[in-house]
């Protein structure tokens, strides 16, 4: 395997109801990430983009993105219909083939321009589940109920996740929901989709971000302290909620094992948990100990969830923790599908 690292990042502040096009969202973050890496566009050997047509309400919505990155002369480029975290995975694969040394990954999600709860419900079985319109939040609520009933989590623990996330978000310029709250205060609120309350669900926002990856000596040249990818893996579970345990996450556990999370102490973990109980599940599945690992110091996706960019945002935050020396070893996680169906785990280290 080649040594591949994140050498530069950029992300835009979260917004609600932006009137910007996807091209306008992407252009500044890609330009900034390229500038932060100290490279020219022409130095980039591979570009990879993550987005979702259904969120744009338009087929081939990603096609215009090549305008944002400047595809002339023609470039080597690909797109995943998924979170940008999976685009990063494809770029990592590409760098491993040795075909190029520098790749740029970017993602955009205009989560507030449509009914995201219904849009994500379209991921379900089109014959037997989607026609019932269960709702994405409601499926997560079923999972939360299963976790509460099994004694895996408590409503207090879930509220604690929200309190910590909103508090930590105060120091994060791109976060949306921030401030000081108490557990009692949050638990006094009504259920929105029982047993979930508003604080248990992430805030849909519009956002975009970009990451520059480089291999070997190129990475060493471009960054003072590259965030070296020491392990990265993604796995999927069956989608059927009745055919898997909702109180554990096998796909996360396997991906974490393959990525080598447990091989050493983790200083910072950035986890894409769109619901509070899911953070608790994911921490457990990855074997993370919250007393020794700082969980979601950015505030995580709970305080700002630009769907399709929120997973890549975890990479941005984890890599920046490594760049700044706040972490020698960091984990970035991304998820997709109802009730944490698909999970990606990456371990990064500073020199």
């Amino acid at each position: 395997m080649r040594d591949v690292a994140i050498v530069a990042t950029a992300q835009r502040p979260s917004q609600i109801g932006t009137q910007l096009t996807s091209v306008e969202l992407i252009l500044p973050v890609v330009a900034e990430a390229v500038k932060n890496a100290g490279i020219q566009r022409q130095d980039v050997g591979f570009w990879c983009h993550g987005s979702c047509d259904y969120m744009s309400g338009q087929p081939f919505s990603f096609v215009a993105a090549v305008d944002a990155i400047g595809a002339w002369p023609p470039i080597v480029e690909s797109h995943v219909e998924a979170d940008g975290a999976l685009a990063l995975y494809e770029a990592w694969v590409k760098l491993q083939t040795g075909e190029c040394d520098i790749a740029v990954v970017f993602a955009n999600g205009k989560t507030t321009s449509g009914p995201i709860d219904r849009i994500l419900t379209l991921q379900a079985d089109p014959y037997f589940v989607t026609p019932l319109w269960p709702g994405f939040d409601a499926m997560a609520a079923l999972q939360a109920r299963a976790c509460l009933d099994a004694g895996v989590v408590t409503e207090e623990q879930m509220a604690e996740v929200a309190v910590r996330s909103r508090r930590d978000a105060k120091s994060n310029a791109v976060a949306h929901l921030k401030g000081d709250y108490t557990v009692d205060e949050l638990l006094s609120g009504p259920y929105t989709t029982a047993p979930l309350r508003a604080h248990d669900c992430s805030v849909p926002v519009d956002g975009a971000n970009a990451v520059v990856l480089a291999a070997d000596d190129v990475a060493r040249r471009l960054a003072k302290r590259p965030a070296w990818i020491r392990g990265i893996d993604h796995r999927i579970d069956t989608q059927r909620l009745g055919a898997r345990s909702l109180t554990t996450s096998d796909s996360t556990r396997i991906a974490a094992e393959k990525a080598g999370v447990g091989r050493d102490k983790v200083d910072v973990a950035e986890i894409y948990a769109p619901y509070t109980h899911q953070e608790l599940l994911l921490r457990s599945a990855m074997g993370l100990d919250a007393t020794t690992t700082v969980i979601n110091p950015s505030g995580g996706a709970l305080v700002a969830n630009p769907a399709m960019a929120a997973g890549l945002a975890r990479f941005v935050e984890a890599a920046e923790a490594v760049f700044a020396g706040r972490a020698d070893r960091a984990v970035a996680h991304s998820t997709s599908g109802p009730c944490l169906q698909q999970n990606l785990v990456c371990v990064m280290e500073g020199d």
Binding site: Y54, P74, V76, G98, R235
Partner: protein, 385 residues
């Protein structure tokens, strides 16, 4: 650095306008089961799945690979989704090959599919765009001015498109999986079909199909242990350029030329027309055959149509193009690129049956998408690189 990769199994569905007998999952599994049987392995032997399709709005399922994980027996495995417009079948196969070439997985299953009958492609592709310029022309309306541009520039006579169409529809009769089996076309009859988007006639247009293609790719170490025929991946290439800008060459896009140049360079090909035995080319409208012959560097500029007229691209010609019948005979959009890639493999594996080009050793699979702006190609051979 990159490891060698071989295709050891190819499987496709019986393509048709409406596969009402199967669900989306059933359609996908038909291709997958045939590919696994061709490779002589079971689905448990697969390490990772790389899946591609065209816009999700064609079936109305967002990110259907999530739901399909069950049908693919993929729980606990990686499932990776690619979407790069019409070229997606090709780029998906390339991403799958890169998983092997990078040494990450030893056995990768890749799939391209589309079940157009579950939705309405014309609707799905014509959604009013809230923040952009509306293009309600459909694919035929979009590409017809580009075809007109080629005819004007090259001086091609007006019957060339129909010649390509008759060839591909005739070839398709030798391919049991093709959607259209129409043996009775003649050039005269073809020229009588209605003009849909001048200069594109009805017969010069691809059908709407349900279908899937699946390939099993293996590392050299694993492929060597398989007794069946193999298609070694000699080179892959992808290029993209913007849809529109002033002065853009749309008849022979630069991205296509660069993609082909990259493919020839990586594959050690100096005289493509002499060294390549057969091409599976993405030709959704018949006129694109001569256009791509030039864009890929087979024929000199403005000469592609003469090759068609001289029968060079017939199955009996020196550079057979689309012996499978091509996109003109089956177009499950998200699978069409991978069908080209898979048919190229079948030719060098010697498993193409009645549409086999005898002795084919080097074959090219080609796909394009968007406004002639996304290109994906691979070069496969019966011989190890």
């Amino acid at each position: 650095m990159a490891e060698r990769c071989a295709v050891v199994g190819v499987g496709q569905t019986n393509h048709s306008s409406c596969r009402a007998d199967v669900s989306i999952a059933g359609l996908v599994r038909e291709a997958v089961d045939r590919a696994l049987a061709d490779a002589g392995i079971t689905i448990q032997d697969v390490d990772a799945v790389v899946i591609g399709k065209a816009p999700d709005s064609l079936e109305g399922v967002a990110m259907p690979e999530l739901w399909l994980a069950d049908a693919l027996a993929a729980h606990g495995k990686p499932v990776f989704r690619v979407h790069t417009a019409g070229s997606v079948g090709g780029s998906t196969a390339i991403v799958a090959a890169q998983h092997v070439m990078a040494g990450i997985h030893g056995t990768v299953l890749t799939i391209g599919f589309e079940k157009q009958s579950d939705g309405n492609a014309m609707w799905a592709l014509s959604v009013p765009i809230p923040f952009g310029m509306p293009v309600h022309a459909g694919a035929g309306g979009y590409f017809s001015p580009i075809v007109r541009g080629y005819i004007t520039r090259s001086g091609a006579p007006s019957h060339i498109g129909a010649m390509v169409a008759v060839k591909d529809r005739t070839n398709a009769c030798k391919n049991p999986y093709a959607h259209l089996h129409e043996p009775d076309w003649t050039l005269e009859k073809a020229l009588e079909t209605p003009m849909l988007w001048d200069p594109i006639r009805f017969i010069e247009t691809c059908p709407s199909s349900d279908g899937a293609m699946a390939l099993v790719l293996m590392s050299e170490e694993r492929a060597e242990k398989m007794s069946g025929p193999k298609a070694w991946v000699h080179a892959t290439a992808m290029r993209s350029e913007p849809t529109a800008f002033a002065g853009r060459e749309q008849v022979s896009p630069r991205a296509g030329e660069m993609c082909a140049e990259d493919l020839w360079r990586k594959g050690g090909i100096t005289k493509p027309a002499e060294e390549i035995d057969v091409v599976e080319m993405y030709v959704p409208f018949a006129w694109f055959e001569p256009m791509w012959l030039e864009n890929l560097g087979f024929a000199p500029r403005n000469e592609g149509w003469r090759w068609v007229e001289d029968g060079v691209t017939e199955m009996t010609g020196s550079l057979p193009v689309n012996p499978s019948g091509g996109v003109l005979s089956s177009n499950p959009i998200g699978a069409s690129g991978m069908i080209r890639f898979g048919e190229a493999c079948m030719q060098v594996m010697g498993t193409a049956g009645e549409h086999q080009i005898d002795g084919a050793k080097k074959a090219v699979g080609h796909a394009y998408g968007g406004g002639s702006q996304f290109f994906a190609m691979w070069l496969v051979s019966s011989l190890k690189p």
